[in-house]
């Protein structure tokens, strides 16, 4: 595990410095290689220097799977950052380096057993993402996004830190699993409320979602993809780990708290998405709704039952990476991400159109896609724990999401006279690969859940 952190850091620094040189073409392959090495060392459970982590980081179990997912997510995105080379700017080094740092922060978040390292991870991830949100510094929208993200992000950190501080004050320990017997139970519950709300803000579920659509819209789309996949994965993953480590101490109101968040998210998130004309905003709301679904897997979570949530991660990350990458290609040609820019995509580039269509169908929970199975798993979790009504509301709310996802598909397959929109074969290949995995996870889910257990 330690080697993974070291390699990510080294390659991030190398990427940033290579940005000053003439061999910028090497940055992205190098970043890819570095992340692959990190992934290998996580999966193989490389023990080298692990004792320097001083027990603040978990190296096995769910943490290991989550780290692997984070790194796979990074690997899926890194090739697309080569796009910045063609602008003839030296920024590709900065962006790739920052992204590697963000991945490292995400890894630290999902593997922490200590609030200190957890907070460190949150900050490493967030600060890198604040910069990336403002990556398009000539556009005012990007600047606006960076500022908004920074302010809400700081607010989130403050709430989280306040909760952590209270836990420390009550228990005298920053171990996540450390709060055993304390006086002032009610105060501890308040502390938990602060911590959970901090994560709810980071995950962006209603009513803590207000920042997400604006930030997603302004951020350069390739980094929105990272925001929608990597940041969500890390935040929900860290939340999952806290729940896991505190499983005997969790307050009784927790399920009701989830149910409230889920209900608000599914109803409001879907309702607000319907009117959106910007596809990025629409996908932002879609991400909010998907997070609500993931939370459903948290209801009465027992150790060893994390796999529905993990499977949902795979389904969600694959679909949202494909969606945002396709939006990126359309946007970079058309200059806008409005729904009208997607008209006729089916004729202009069948591969972009086909992959985003399947990704949207998966997000909507269409049969034989990973989204369907993932939804089934979390619905099972809700129903099995006595929240059948919630599951029924969730299923019926899906109708709204079908409406806005198919609004995009409808636009894609309308006729247009625009010229073709070619992209490099590598990118086509990657998009097709992600789509095939989406289908494979929908058709053979037991293979994937076998890996996650």
């Amino acid at each position: 595990m330690m080697t993974a952190f070291i390699f990510l850091c080294l390659f991030a620094i190398a990427a940033m410095f290579l940005g000053f040189t003439n061999i910028r073409g090497a940055i992205v392959p190098l970043a890819f290689a570095g992340t692959s090495i990190a992934l290998y060392s996580v999966i193989s459970g490389q023990p080298f220097w692990n004792h320097y982590l001083t027990g603040m980081v978990e190296t096995g179990g769910t943490a290991k799977i989550l780290c692997a997912l984070v790194l796979l997510n990074a690997l899926a995105l890194i090739p697309f950052y080569a796009w910045y080379e063609r602008r003839g700017q030296e920024e590709v080094g900065d962006f790739t380096g920052l992204f590697l740092f963000a991945s490292m922060g995400a890894m630290l978040m999902v593997s922490s057993t200590h609030y200190m390292s957890l907070f460190l991870g949150v900050e490493i991830l967030s600060i890198a993402m604040y910069v990336l949100a403002g990556a398009d510094r000539r556009k005012s929208k990007s600047n606006e996004a960076a500022l908004k993200y920074f302010i809400t992000g700081s607010f989130t950190s403050a709430i989280l830190l306040f909760g952590i501080g209270m836990i420390y004050a009550l228990t005298g320990s920053l171990e996540i699993a450390g709060a055993v017997e304390v006086e002032g139970q009610s105060l501890l519950q308040l502390a938990y409320l602060f911590v959970f709300t901090g994560f709810a803000l980071k995950i962006a579920v209603v009513p803590f979602h207000f920042w997400a659509p604006d930030v997603y819209e302004g951020t350069p789309t390739l980094f929105t993809a990272a925001m929608a996949s990597l940041v969500k994965l890390a935040s929900i993953g860290a939340f999952l780990r806290i729940i896991q480590l505190n499983v005997d101490l969790l307050p009784a109101w927790l399920n009701a708290y989830y149910a409230m968040l889920i209900l608000a998210t599914l109803i409001l998130g879907n309702a607000l998405a319907i009117k959106q004309q910007s596809v990025k905003r629409l996908l932002a709301y879609s991400g909010i709704v998907q997070a609500g679904f993931i939370l459903m897997g948290f209801i009465s979570l027992r150790p060893g039952e994390e796999w529905p949530v993990l499977f949902y991660f795979i389904a969600y990350v694959l679909a949202s990476v494909v969606c945002f990458v396709v939006v990126h290609f359309v946007e970079s040609r058309e200059g806008t991400d409005a729904l009208d820019a997607f008209r006729g995509l089916g004729q202009r580039n069948p591969i972009l159109a086909g992959t985003i269509t399947l990704a949207l169908i998966s997000l909507a929970g269409g049969p034989f896609t990973s989204g369907f199975v993932a939804k089934l798993y979390v619905l099972n979790q809700a129903v099995a724990n006595g929240y059948a009504a919630l599951a029924v509301v969730a299923v019926v709310c899906t109708l709204m999401s079908v409406y806005y996802y198919y609004k995009v598909i409808n636009a894609i397959y309308s006729k247009s006279a625009d010229q073709a929109l070619p992209i490099e074969p590598v990118y086509s290949g990657l998009l097709i690969l992600f789509t095939l995995i989406t289908l494979a996870a929908g058709i053979l889910p037991s293979f994937f859940t076998g890996l996650l257990k």
Partner: protein, 483 residues
């Protein structure tokens, strides 16, 4: 072991190949897959022994073992006739695209193949989850078929259809999720056989049956949920419309057959309300069809009217109702496909969908008028055509249920004759316009019409073997006390 799954795999493989094949090869590939599926189906049917092995050629795979969900398809008595219909109509619909100036691209045939695979899977599904999967999966290729190849107003029409159907599907999914998990200690959902044996509390039955019924009522469509139908039919590409009208419209009533052995008590309690609801659709659809000037809309409402009668017959929960319902599904499918194909032939030649725009075609094209006449006779339910057999059974069991309801049901025969003969007379007879040059029937068109015409007559003469299949499906009722 995988014999049933092969019937899904053949069209699926052809669909995937079609997407990558050229525009020239794809139609032949699709046709070949249709013919191969048809013969493969006949082979399976030939060696299917309904008495010894009610459920044959099982394919059961542990799909989601954590939740004890199986992917289970197989061949049973209820599925035989709908499967026969599917193989026939898909093949004929592919043949119907073999016309000069066919500009459908390879993706069209790929989507047809996906629809075909989905329909085969749907009719062979042996448990509720597999049933739902194919119910929804079939929708997606059809959505794209209409969206990409339909008429000018297609976008709105298909979206309405899609949202309606998905809404029904989601209600069904909610019900299945409930069944699957809430009742998992007492309930087995591995196959219909076990599924029907489960006892479900009446208060749950009401809610769950309502969810299933709305899903099927939207899909069929039945009375208050029919508003998407005429719009969609008017906009769909006509060869694919043959599949939509002839086979997809049967999915709803077939679903009723699949689930009515489970919701027996709920259906008995609600019959007095549901059957009249279906019959309202029968009369209403027929009256609206009578007043239509647009051929496709006329046929759409006619379809709506006939399916109402089938649903009413099935809901009587009588042995004859199930038998007649299954046979009428086949008969109506053949007639609807034939009528829509004739409409397609006429529209391609005259360039109009309006009845006012054409007359006297019988003199120009006597062969077409003869085929058309046979199909119309079957559609109006004349004895010795297959249309008669199904409707007779359905009306019989309606009369046994409540005689006065059979009177309303019987109106479909009278009103059906009225609007279909009006359709026939307006197009075929009358003054032949001098300025029209009417192209003769091509070989493929001839072929489609001959096959449908022959089947309509042969099945009308020898229905007994086919109708009898339904009573084996009905044996599930014996698990439960009647009324």
């Amino acid at each position: 072991m995988y014999l049933a799954a092969l019937l899904i795999a053949i069209p699926l493989a052809s669909a995937l190949l079609s997407f990558f094949a050229g525009k020239r090869i794809a139609p032949y590939l699709s046709l070949a897959s249709g013919v191969v599926s048809l013969f493969y189906f006949l082979l399976l049917m030939g060696s299917y022994d309904v008495v010894k092995n009610y459920l044959s050629y099982n394919t059961s795979l542990a799909w989601i073992p954590e939740m004890r969900i199986f992917f289970h398809v197989g061949f049973d008595a209820a599925a035989v006739l709908p499967l026969l219909l599917t193989q026939l109509i898909v093949t004929l619909s592919t043949l119907a695209t073999f016309v000069s100036g066919n500009d459908r691209n390879a993706a069209y045939y790929g989507l047809i193949g996906l629809t075909h695979a989905g329909l085969n899977g749907f009719f062979m599904a042996q448990n509720p989850v597999t049933f739902y999967l194919f119910f929804e999966a079939t929708l997606i290729p059809v959505y794209f078929l209409v969206l990409q190849y339909g008429g000018p107003e297609r976008r709105k029409a298909v979206f309405k259809f899609f949202l309606y159907t998905v809404f029904g599907g989601l209600l069904m999914l909610a019900a299945i999720v409930f069944l699957q998990f809430h009742m998992r200690e007492h309930l087995s959902l591995a196959a219909w056989d076990d599924f029907y044996k489960n006892k479900l509390d009446l208060k749950y039955q009401y809610w769950l049956f309502a969810a299933f019924f709305i899903a099927f009522a939207i899909k069929t469509p039945l009375f208050p949920f029919h508003t998407w139908q005429a719009d969609l039919y008017a906009q769909a590409d006509r060869p694919s419309l043959m599949i939509i009208a002839a086979v997809m419209s049967k999915m709803g009533v077939f679903g009723l057959i699949r689930f009515d052995f489970f919701f027996v008590e709920a259906i008995y309690r609600w019959q007095y309300f549901l059957i009249p609801l279906c019959l309202i659709g029968v009369v209403y659809g027929a009256l609206v069809a009578w007043r239509q000037n647009d051929m496709i809309r006329l046929l759409a409402y006619s379809s709506f009217s006939h399916l109402g009668l089938i649903a009413a017959g099935i809901l009587t929960m009588a042995n004859l109702g199930i038998q007649g319902g299954l046979f009428a599904m086949l008969a109506h499918g053949l007639a609807a496909a034939g009528l829509f194909f004739v409409a397609d032939v006429l529209i391609r030649r005259t360039g109009t969908t309006q009845l006012d725009g054409m007359s006297g075609i019988a003199r120009l094209q006597p062969r077409l008028s003869a085929y058309f006449f046979v199909i119309v006779l079957s559609a109006v339910g004349l004895p010795l055509t297959c249309g008669f057999v199904g409707e007779f059974y359905l009306l019989w069991c309606l009369a046994e249920y409540k005689p006065y309801l059979a009177v309303f049901g019987g109106l479909t025969l009278i009103l059906g004759a009225a609007y279909l003969l009006r359709f026939y007379q307006k197009t075929m007879f009358g003054q032949t316009p001098v300025h029209i040059t009417f192209r003769g029937l091509s070989l493929s068109e001839d072929y489609v019409l001959i096959v449908i015409g022959l089947l309509v007559i042969v099945l009308g003469f020898f229905p007994i073997h086919w109708v009898g299949l339904g009573q084996y499906a009905f044996r599930f009722m014996n698990h439960l006390p009647a009324n």
